[in-house]
């Protein structure tokens, strides 16, 4: 019977190999961050030495704090703007400039970061803006709000619109119907959007390099300049901490989307 054996051995093997390929490098990195030896490739027993080193590295800590602040602020603004954009695109029917609007929102998703970074920098220079926290925050908001818009829009698209129409037939005005019916339903997607924006901002090297000023390096910028000089065990520890932070974020986001899928169709991941 063909129907029973849908999952062939080839399918299982390719899945297993694919997942191993995706996870093994990260796993190795995490394990080696606990390595006591200074030589990154020689195992010298378990140790927290490199974490200690990181917490005593003032410049790294400052960069991490800068990245964290940028990620929280830009993710928050991006979530607000991205959600508004998603509502306009999926509920606004036709409006003037709609094509340009959706074009501007979808293009940054694939636009090479060197272009986005360079163009924003030239804008900031022309405006004579002091480069630092705010310029990076604005740059990250511009990039990540597009991701938020796509996540929220796909959730809005899968919602049953008769719910908000029913609310309006029962006397709600549109704003009230949105706030009391639509918003609670898309809330999980909004949370997931915030998380995605947060991690994207935390990761970004290229756009931040262009838009930041002297003395306000983000964590990826510092990591990058260290990595260029070669592998250092301390970097393994920092990367592990970032992975741990992101893992917490993912757990929260997946709980949120589980909530979302139990209320209807599951939200698209991207």
């Amino acid at each position: 019977m063909r129907k029973v054996s849908r999952l062939s051995r080839f399918n299982v093997a390719s899945l297993a190999l694919g997942l191993a390929f995706l996870y093994l490098p990260i796993l190795i990195l995490v394990i080696y961050s606990f390595n006591a030896s200074r030589l990154v490739t020689v195992w010298g027993g378990w140790s927290l030495r490199w974490y200690h080193e990181f917490f005593n590295d003032r410049a790294m800590i400052e960069a991490a704090w800068m990245s964290f602040r940028v990620a929280v602020s830009s993710a928050t603004i991006a979530t607000l703007l991205g959600t508004l954009a998603a509502v306009a695109l999926s509920r606004g029917e036709r409006f003037r400039g709609r094509t340009l609007f959706s074009g501007m929102l979808y293009a940054p998703l694939v636009m090479p970061e060197v272009i986005t970074g360079l163009s924003l920098l030239l804008l900031f220079v022309a405006l004579n803006a002091e480069r630092g926290f705010w310029t990076v925050t604005i740059a990250h908001t511009t990039l990540t709000m597009c991701f938020v818009a796509v996540v929220v829009q796909s959730r809005l698209g899968s919602l049953d619109r008769s719910l908000e129409e029913a609310a309006m037939d029962l006397g709600c005005d549109p704003v009230r119907a949105f706030l009391s019916v639509t918003l609670p339903l898309i809330a999980p997607a909004i949370v997931a959007g915030w998380m995605l924006a947060f991690t994207l901002s935390l990761d970004d090297l290229v756009i931040a390099s262009f838009t930041t000023g002297p003395g306000s390096a983000t964590l990826p910028i510092r990591i990058y300049s260290e990595v260029r000089l070669g592998v250092k065990p301390e970097i393994n520890a920092i990367c592990t901490l970032v992975i741990a932070l992101i893992a917490v974020v993912i757990v929260i986001a997946s709980l949120a989307s589980k909530l979302s899928s139990s209320q209807g169709e599951s939200a698209a991941p991207l």
Partner: protein
């Protein structure tokens, strides 16, 4: 008036804030890139001639226009370094995208064949690395690929090689890095179309006597083409402009365009040439970008 149309009116107003934001921080900056790409390099801070001074009146404005030159673009076309960089970027992106498709397709196919409850788990497992930092994932590979790294240790222990292989600063390392980083972008759209496919179609083809490879080529693959298109564009476009991966993993003797742009900007401080390089890169990517936008729009706005 239907409640749907009443709802649409305030929804349109929601566009105002993000519209203004994107116009200001995404669209307007391109005007500056274009302007500076047409201006002369100057040893100054910032290192290019000043932008139009609108208060100076018409004559000054006309003079500013007259000063615009396409020298930077001529330089890009005539200097082998840039021409090679564009050619190399496109070659690398094409090769890497083909590799991604070859590797990603079986994985996506395997996912789509899993029992429904497992599919969700597999999808999360594929998405998670996408959330982990790009830079960290590349760094993880530097750990593995370095001279006395894990890969060489394993190869030596298995007596597959006599002495350590040089992996870092080679194209193979770069391709490993690119495939590793972009794999989720290829798998997810492929999986999305494959999972929606009616399994009865494949079964029917099989029942009518088609061998498995024919079922795949005549039924499965053609039906998955929308996913293939999305995955290919989602990978190809950013890879052409990729900077971090070639910079950290490939050798420095042949650069991709993202790297030359970075060098012109940060090392040579030649902002006009960097801007011109960005404009040309944008033009090279215009067609795939427009295709991608149409696909994205169709997926998000109609296909339900």
């Amino acid at each position: 008036m239907s409640s749907r149309r009443i709802f649409a009116r305030p929804a349109r107003f929601a566009a105002i804030a993000p519209y203004v934001w994107m116009a200001l921080f995404f669209l307007v900056p391109f005007a500056f890139v274009l302007k500076i790409s047409l201006s002369q390099t100057a040893i100054a801070q910032p290192p290019y001639e000043p932008v139009f001074d609108l208060t100076a009146g018409w004559d000054a404005l006309r003079a500013a226009f007259a000063a615009l030159s396409i020298d930077n673009f001529k330089l890009l076309v005539s200097d082998d370094i840039y021409v090679f960089a564009y050619v190399r970027s496109l070659t690398v992106a094409l090769t890497a995208t083909a590799l991604l498709l070859l590797i990603g397709y079986p994985i996506a196919y395997g996912m789509a064949r899993l029992p429904k409850s497992w599919q969700a788990v597999a999808m999360v497992l594929v998405i998670v690395p996408f959330w982990t930092s790009f830079l960290i994932r590349i760094y993880a590979w530097i750990n593995i690929l370095q001279h006395d790294g894990l890969l060489n240790q394993i190869l030596l222990a298995l007596h597959l090689v006599g002495q350590p292989v040089v992996w870092l600063s080679t194209d193979s390392a770069m391709y490993i890095g690119i495939v590793y980083s972009y794999l989720p972008f290829m798998i997810l759209p492929l999986y999305a179309t494959l999972a929606k496919m009616e399994p009865a179609l494949e079964e029917a083809a099989g029942d009518l006597g088609a061998p498995p490879w024919q079922v795949f080529w005549l039924v499965t693959f053609p039906l998955s083409l929308p996913g293939v298109g999305a995955g290919v564009l989602l990978c190809f476009i950013p890879i052409v402009g990729e900077f971090v991966i070639p910079d950290l993993l490939a050798g420095s003797n042949s650069l991709m365009i993202g790297q030359t742009l970075w060098l012109e900007f940060f090392t040579n401080k030649d902002w006009p040439v960097a801007s011109a390089a960005a404009i040309v890169l944008l033009l090279v990517l215009l067609v795939p970008l427009l295709l991608y936008e149409r696909l994205q729009k169709r997926q998000l706005e109609q296909g339900r």
